[in-house]
Amino acid sequence: MRLTDHTFREIVRGLESRELSSRDLVGAALEAIHSHTDTLNTFIRIADPEQLIGMARAVDDARARGDVLGPLAGIPVAVKDNIATRGLGTTCASRMLESFDPPYDATAVTRLGAAGGIVIGKTNMDEFAMGSSNEHSFYGPARNPWDVGRVPGGSSGGSAAAVAAGEAVLALGSDTGGSVRQPAGFCGVVGVKPTYGRISRYGLIAFASSFDQIGPLARDVEGAAVLLEVIAGADHADATSLRMAVPECVTAVTRGVAGLRLGVPERFLGPDVDSDVRERVELAVTRLERAGATVRSLALPSLSHAVAAYYLIADAEASANLARYDGVGFGYRAAAADLDGVFERSRGEGFGLEVKRRIMLGTYALSAGYRDRYYASAQEARRCITSELLGAFDEVDGIVGPVSPTVAFGLGERVSDPLAMYLSDIFTVPANLTGAAAISVPCGTTSGGLPVGIQVIVDRFNEPTMFAVAGEIERASGGPLVPPTRGAA
């Protein structure tokens, strides 16, 4: 069997009725991974297959006994390699953490395990989550299962590709400026960035603290909703986690959109969006109208400063978050005769180019003489954008548009033009800047056979409405996508 043969609900029903076993699922995952060795490069580390099979069998035995099991019991899950997993290492796809094994698990991983999920392995990503293509990885780029000459997106490229390619049923990624949603869009799967604070960041290796959120990925909306409910909720170990009840996401998926008011920002369907992307998105919007939603246009002029505000603040926070990688307590240490050498060479050799670029940008933006012009202005802009975007939710229940201006681009195409890469984050960064929740749902493929993702943004705390709209989009477009089958190589 292939994991891509079934929806999430079918898998759960199959397990419950014992038509499917966890052994089947884990076996299918491992087989898919094996068949994609040399092509997709989705995983940095895979758990010991014997142990995985053993865990799967244990779940199957427990189910046979009639034990009460968690909502993810026996389901293979991939975890992005910037989320701490004790015993499996956590590299952030960086030489800096090549041999780092944390003495603890991230809260999200603990909750995943408590729900019965089986962690298959750690997925490839852009180094320290800095990138939009998964080309900035110490372990080489991951590739898009729809076309191995193209990027899977980033930074959670490995997680998105793994789910799309049937190497896992569910995955955890992280989203700071779009890093779950954009790869989800490029790989034709569902990816969520929850409200900031919805999911504990304890154990998520920090990139930009006031933006980062762990996000679920799945082939379909229901799978993403179930995973979100499992890992969300207050955590005493994270002072920024929301002290609020986890909202009902799963029941919202089938709610429908009758009476919902949706808005499309003018620039979200402007000339910088590829025509085939625009076509798919407009079609999805039309279907939402047919299903009972009203759609209007929104102005939101402050969004033209969103990318700038995002990069200046995120990179400033990152420059501090990555200061702990100094060769002393953990991580890569270069050979050096003196203390300065330890610091400078370990960091110079341990970090890849994009990471260094962002640290430099962030350091510069905070440095004496430039702080007011860059960092302080960006904070003011953030406040303005937040006011305007969240203010729009007085008039609409959701904001829709493409998740990215283009479909997945070719490997090597953008990697030497950082500014172009940054500017393509225009549709995703507003949610991170404002703390709003957002989801990327596939809405068909282009004539070239590549998936297009449509994004739905909702007000903070309003995940249920987001899942309602996403569920409708998915139903109207005929259900989850399957990439064309590939033979070996």
Binding site: I83, A84, T90, C92, L97, F100, P102, P103, Y104, A106, R201, Y202, G203, L204, I205, A206, S209, S210, H236, A237, D238, A239, T240, A316, E317, S319, A320, L322, A323, R324, Y325, D326, V328, G329, F330, L339, F343, T363, L366, S367, A368, R371, Y375
Partner: protein, 489 residues
């Protein structure tokens, strides 16, 4: 030209909490290196700080004790620099929105009242401890990393070394009496950094230099003397003072410029995104105000005015509010045991507290707080003092009784009998002893008869020796004189 010193301080006091400021590791001095650590205080990737509420409470109590204004909202900031004892590469401290602002202290120095104003109080985390070994690698122990610190920044208002030392002693005394810190300087419980400049003609400000690592009042005095001399010599020689940060070496009595490059002083402060604001409602502040005890200055004045104590004695007792409470309890009780003269009650109790009781504690290797309270209730000491005042015991016997009173719960009268401590005043009993002493010292008796009056003391001493210090010396003296006269014919 007279150049007036201008001196200010940064006081760092370790807060007396059970656990560290951002994690639940134990806040204890010492221990095997790196055993009081966790992912948070080690700065491991993915770990997050969570604020210890007790640290805020103690900070507020300290602020109230010095009449500072507590902010209703304050926030933390990241202060970035690279050093091996700083695992995150930044310290979480407070910058533009500290816990409290203003406040100050009045002290008395060389008979003058001196006012020192404060600019702010804030809380922050301590760094780890480095061990430098010339010619070998330097080592880091992270046990101290994350210990909560209170920092008080004074305005540069002190103008003499004496004033500065008096201030340092008093601020320590206040913080200890409030229970904010242990104040044990040899353990690093309270540390002082000082900044000093020399003002020129007409008060033209000089360039300040900072001296760090002052762990005793003696170091503060020596370092200030050393630096003021240095600056004076430079200025008198026509040179200019360059701003420097110096590390004081108590052993050598020298200050060395600290390791730092010019760029290191750009700390790139920004608000800590991992921690919400500290909220201090006015209700909470009022609740905490009740925890601010009578401060040493007020206690000193009261002991002098109400109880008639000499300044120095009052100062010793007022250092510890438990001693003040104990003292007052004893004074109240001593009257009921027959100590009639109300004016002398205070001085008598103080004398015993400051003298023999302290001596006993020292001899037994105990802290005063261990002796006061259950081991020697105030009323019991009061009874002893009254017995002495009424002449039932000699001074020597009373001191001996003190030791027994601590070791046993038996009534004092029983102990007096048991150890034969009653002062001998019975003339018949004493006459026998006097006679035998005079028989044993015919030379001295003869000299006494010839007019060498001072031999009364020697002979009295011999009688005291023979009676184990229990004889009433006045009566012994009278008996000796009478005996000397009688045979004088």
């Amino acid at each position: 030209m007279t150049r007036t010193p201008v001196i200010g301080f940064e006081v760092h006091a370790q807060l007396a909490t059970r656990s560290k400021i951002f994690c639940s590791c134990a806040n204890i001095v010492g221990g095997e290196p790196n055993t009081r650590v966790c992912p948070v205080c080690l700065g491991l990737p993915g770990a997050l700080p969570v604020l210890n509420d007790r640290a805020v409470e103690l900070g507020i109590v300290a602020a109230l004790a010095v009449d500072a204004t507590v902010a209703d909202r304050s926030s933390f900031a990241r202060k970035s620099y690279f050093y091996p004892d700083l695992p995150k590469g930044y310290q979480i401290t407070q910058d533009t929105r500290p816990l409290a602002t203003g406040g100050g202290l009045d002290v008395e120095s060389n008979g003058r009242a001196v006012r020192v104003g404060f600019s702010q109080l804030h809380i922050e985390e301590d760094a780890g401890k480095m061990l430098h070994r010339p010619g070998r690698s330097s080592l880091v122990d992270m046990n101290r990393c994350g210990v909560p610190l209170l920092e008080i920044v004074t305005l540069p208002e002190l103008t003499s070394i004496d004033d500065a030392v008096v201030f340092a002693e008093e601020i320590r005394r206040i913080l200890v009496s409030c229970g904010v810190t242990s104040g044990r300087m040899h353990e690093g419980g309270i540390r002082f950094d000082t900044n000093v400049s020399l003002a020129g003609e007409g008060g033209a400000p000089g360039t300040p230099c900072e001296i760090k690592n002052l762990n005793s009042f003696r170091s503060i005095r020596r370092a200030l003397e050393h630096e003021i001399d240095r600056q004076r010599a430079v200025l008198d020689g026509g040179g200019r003072i360059a701003h420097q940060t110096l590390l004081w070496d108590e052993r050598e009595g020298e200050a060395h410029p600290m390791r730092s490059k010019e760029e290191a002083s750009d700390y790139r402060y920004f608000r800590e995104p991992d921690l919400p604001d500290i909220i201090a409602s006015s209700e909470r502040i009022e609740e905490l105000r009740a925890l601010v005890p009578e401060l040493p200055g007020a206690a000193r004045a009261r002991l002098r005015d109400e109880h008639g104590l000499a300044a120095e004695v009052a100062g010793i007792i007022a250092d510890d509010r438990r001693e003040v409470a104990y003292f007052e309890e004893a004074v109240k009780a001593v009257g009921s045991f027959g100590f009639d003269d109300p004016v002398e009650r205070g001085p008598a109790c103080a004398r015993w507290l400051v003298g023999p009781l302290r001596g006993l504690a020292h001899a037994r290797g105990l802290a005063m707080e261990d002796l006061l309270g259950p081991r020697l209730p105030a009323a019991r000491l009061a009874e002893l003092i009254a017995l002495r005042a009424r002449g039932r015991l000699t001074e020597t016997a009373a001191k001996e009784l003190l030791g027994h009173a601590v070791d046993s719960r038996a009534p004092l009268t029983d102990l007096i009998e048991q150890f034969g401590l009653r002062q001998l005043s019975d003339e018949d009993e004493l006459s026998t002893v006097v006679a035998s002493v005079l028989d044993a010292h015919p030379e001295e008796l003869a000299r006494l008869r010839r007019g060498e009056d001072k031999l009364i003391r020697f002979l009295t001493g011999q009688v005291m020796k023979k009676t184990g210090g229990r004889a009433n010396p006045r009566i012994v003296g009278e008996l000796i004189r009478a005996a000397a006269k009688r045979e004088d014919s």
